[in-house]
Symmetry: C2
DNA sequence: ATCCAGATTGACCGGTCAGTCAACGCCCGG
DNA sequence: CCGGGCGTTGACTGACCGGTCAATCTGGAT
């Protein structure tokens, strides 16, 4: 949460053990240096969380067993329930942790003095970089939460919705200030923008789109250019003007 | 399959019993008029399929029981397994049936002599009208198949991918002929376009977007205008030209 | 040395379902 | 009127898995 997403930030650095400063229960006290700094008192909770990401991403939340997570983490089955109330709570924790990172990032981007197009490009960059740096977490979030209309999607709707709202704020301001067209519905535009990005992530997740660093970079430019600039050639002979269907 | 999607067509008419002319096993022989056309020998298979749509849409594929489907259809549990090999096969059948309708529609639209923008508008209309006319089927297809990276998404990837391909064909032709920008990556653009639409459907499914007839109509125009025309105002002072990130 | 609290273990329980199957009945042809 | 096949029924089973819990371990404090 603390880190301001200046420039290259993304939600991809704290996946392993380097994570700290989280909210509530995460605050494990590692009872440091008991005598001579013995072999790292590993944070089992984090271990389980990280293992869960791998297992959920690979086999899907519903298709995997809690024992899979325990095995992957190298801990006993029961320990999972020592740290988490249920299987769901693990996913819950993972989602909230990361999504908040993104909400904060979007807000920080909006508060910067970049142009609207640059802001959208920063948002796209943040999301795409998040996927690049930790594809498994993003896969879990998108597949199991964001796009899951049942179970989790419903519960975190409000959280998810906030992201659309914050993007809409960017669009609305730009529209008001004349950078974007005046008659834009900011909410629609935000949904389209986010939907386009998530579809690209889905393409990468499903293996429908090539996964190279150049492609990721190219995608950032392309999605913003498509949404902001449009597909149509500037001087092209556009048959209809503002563009509604000619006949009913 | 038969109906050419001229103008107002959508995948929303054959949901109930009026469906026939399907592929394989659907060919139930209703042994018509045994003597005096008794009370309609209802097609139980179709009954189950329709009930499954309702149940899957309402409770989700994984969260519902086969007995729910049987109850909703008003038939015995075992009969479901008389017509379908497994629970999955029901979803399978539903998906393939409808998706093929959409693929055919897109192809027909592409073969029409409309402009690129009009073609995209027709595609958007088809999908949105499909949702409007049978939101439950579309919800099931999107939530349980299209956006499910595990189980079903994987199995029908090829089928799903065809839709992106066909949209890409439209974009590519337009790009080649000068209506769209020449340097467009058709596949990326197609993914963005489809992703934007699916996000709108998701918004309706989740109840994040208002569900009125006007909204549906407005959405058609808006999504096409956003993707084809872009968000930026024509004469606006765009800081960067072609638009890549200033630094990095 | 002793104690305790929290960490850790894994066998076990209980509930839930997908899928099976033996039986029944309805209709039709002979 | 009989026979057989297909449509139909629903109780049952076997596997699977989330969650519990009593026992055990560990390491610091006294």
């Amino acid at each position: 949460m603390a880190a301001a997403p200046r420039g290259r930030a993304s939600a991809g650095e704290s996946a392993s053990s380097a994570d700290n400063g989280d909210s509530r229960a995460t605050a494990r006290k590692p009872r440091r240096r008991s005598r001579a700094a013995r072999a790292e008192p590993v944070d089992k909770r984090r271990l389980i969380l990280d293992a869960a990401v791998r297992v959920f991403a690979h086999r899907g939340f519903h298709s995997c067993r809690v024992s899979d997570v325990a095995d992957e983490a190298g801990v006993a089955y029961g320990l999972v329930y020592h740290y988490f109330g249920s299987k769901e709570e693990i996913l819950d924790t993972l989602f909230v942790e990361r999504w908040q990172l993104m909400l904060d990032a979007i807000e920080a981007i909006d508060h910067s003095d970049a142009s609207a197009r640059e802001k959208l490009e920063l948002v796209a960059s943040f999301i795409i970089d998040s996927y690049r740096h930790s594809p498994e977490v993003m896969k879990v979030i998108i597949v199991e939460v964001t796009r899951a209309a049942h179970s989790f999607g419903r519960e975190h709707l409000e959280h998810i919705n906030k992201a659309y709202d914050r993007i809409a704020l960017i669009v609305e301001a730009a529209s008001r200030e004349g950078a974007f067209k005046p008659d834009i519905d900011a909410r629609f535009a935000a949904m389209c923008f986010y939907g386009a990005i998530e579809q690209l992530l889905s393409g990468w997740i499903f293996g429908l789109l090539p996964r190279t660093d150049e492609e990721y970079e190219r995608a950032k430019g392309l999605v913003v250019e498509t949404i902001c600039g449009g597909l149509e050639a500037p001087g092209a002979p556009t048959p209809a003007g503002p563009g509604l269907l000619p006949r009913q």
